[in-house]
Symmetry: none
Subunit: 211 residues, 4 copies
């Protein structure tokens, strides 16, 4: 019964991968990038050090995988949103709500991902094999929304890709702000609402926006 055996192997294999994922997330959330050594990862996942390399080419790939996975949940939500109809402003508001909440929850994992990407960028070794498909899909959806909003005159007549980049930047920066002032963030909802407001209506927008 080779088939069963293969299935078994596949299941077992993916189980190990899963265990590594869980362990990596746990370590990242607790101690950030610094704490994520292969030894600890293997230990936390209950496998040997060498085994890690059966599932990931190197440490980078682990972080990338974790990052991808961490974004998956939020991707589902974003992609499930029907963008083609309804008020673009309301849609953007909803998406921001989702994204910001997610960014807050996964701040440390995302921080590790960011660090990795920055490192690659600085070394000019941006890996061609890491396209970060998940993030890309999310961002494309946002671009689409911006494009429609601009066409309808609701959003400013601006390159939607650029708009997305700026939005992305803010989310990106918010990650670190969340980490740096972690203990001061008492009421996340309030903070998120404020951030949303500033993104949507700008620093000079007059809308009160606290219904």
């Amino acid at each position: 019964m080779p088939k069963l055996s293969e299935e078994k192997k596949a299941v077992l294999g993916s189980m190990t991968r899963e265990a590594l994922y869980e362990a990596a997330v746990g370590i990242l959330q607790e101690e950030g990038w610094q704490g994520l050594t292969i030894e600890r990862l293997a230990g936390a996942a209950g496998v040997a050090k060498g085994t890690v390399y059966n599932y990931f080419r190197d440490k980078k790939e682990i972080v990338y995988f974790v990052a991808e996975r961490s974004l998956e949940e939020v991707k589902e939500k974003v992609l499930a949103t029907d963008i083609s109809a309804g008020d673009p402003v309301r849609l953007l508001d909803e998406l921001l709500e989702t994204l910001l909440r997610h960014v807050f929850e996964k701040r440390r994992t995302l921080s590790a991902m960011v660090r990795m990407i920055v490192e690659d960028a600085e070394m000019r070794t941006m890996p061609c094999d890491f396209k970060n498909h998940t993030a890309r899909e999310i961002r494309e959806k946002m671009v689409e929304l911006f494009r429609r909003g601009a066409a309808e005159g609701v959003f400013p007549p601006m390159d939607p890709v650029l708009m997305d980049a700026v939005l992305h930047s803010t989310l990106h920066g918010v990650i670190h702000e969340f980490i740096a002032h972690e203990e001061q963030v008492r009421d996340v909802d309030e903070v998120i609402a404020a951030v949303k407001n500033l993104i949507l209506y700008g620093f000079c927008g007059k809308e009160p926006k606290n219904p």
Copy 2:
């Protein structure tokens, strides 16, 4: 003329410090944090490894020093701005112009600083002796501006500290965006104008803003 001699010494001493600063900036701009090892720094500055430690207690202090220095120039400009009078929107616009341009120029140095701070935050060893006075002064000026603008009803009635935090986040995120898409940034002015627009009037603001 011992005085002259002492002056000379002082000059020489500060020259080494200066050389180290220049070398550090150079390395950071070229290769980012990764490339900044004590050995290379010393080599680039034309001194011995041990000499570095005559000027800085450890590696952190170097990055902090460079960061502080890098912000000094922009700080001058920001502090020179008279905030108590004039249209808050115009003032914010000008300040953003200054800040964004600076952030673009010093992106890699600032990235290293950010990384250091994030690392500290993740280790929960936020150093008490590094207050980043320069950044603080800039941010306090912004807070002041937000406070006045809010009081005059030009800015939204929001906690000015929070506003500053969000603005900071965006600038922060823009650093990495600049690094990541470095080669795609053809027209900096255009990008900066767009970013400014989005910050000032938000993603849903109607102001066309392209005179």
Copy 3:
């Protein structure tokens, strides 16, 4: 036969540890503490530098391990002695014979251990995890002997712990005397006999003790 394989592994593992032990002893005997650098140790043991840290947390642990091991043999002998019966003086004589001979043989290794301990004491960081159980067991045996001897009126009515401390001091000092005048020690037996005599009967004791 996985068991054999595991045994093999265990043997191999302990072989490396053993090699490190042997190498450390060799270096200490040849050059003392000064010569014991991680690099040389690794080289002498035929392993890479990093391997050392797979077996010992840090340099201290190596010396402690070596010290403990060096005392083990003598500990066996001492603990094998039945202290509860027989002439305390004869027993002390025998134990001193054993200890002094051992101290002479391992003088350099013990000197390194002493240095480590002194350093710790001076730094006031006496490590709680290094109890030097072996030495402790030996010393407790001596204390016991002193206690019985004192009770029987053979030894002076003195705090046995204090007696042990003084004995220990002398042995301790003898280590260095052995090292310092190494080349002058022609007849070890003679020297040991003299030391024993002075310890047993004091500088003013009248017993001739040279059969």
Copy 4:
């Protein structure tokens, strides 16, 4: 007036030497050998680092000088003792009293000296230019005493040099015992009395010796 100038220089020079001595003693007593860096020494003495090398060839010489000086006071006392007459036992008792008290007081300084000597011995680079005259004079006096005592039949008929070596060893070991159990030494007098007793009458001597 070149003469006055020279005298002045000499005085000033010896003052610096003195300051260095005081500083070295202070540091050694406080922190032991570990704390004695040239930089701290110079700082504590109120001179520049380079100046130290105008007075001492290298670090070793400093410790040797300090050691010599530390023994001077006790040497005076010992040499002032008239050994040619009187009960050798009483004389030895008195000398031991002096030596032990001194060893307790200067334990850390002497420990540094010991370490230095051991290091030299281990490296087999026993410096020919450091004879430790002071210690030698003390030891020669002891040897003399032992010789007379042996001749008179009060001390055992043993090589007086060997006797001195053993006595030295004990004193030597006591240094470290004093450091290691520093905080437990409540009543120095008591401890010293006990040590003296054991040295004089041995571990098997019957004399009670607590008048």
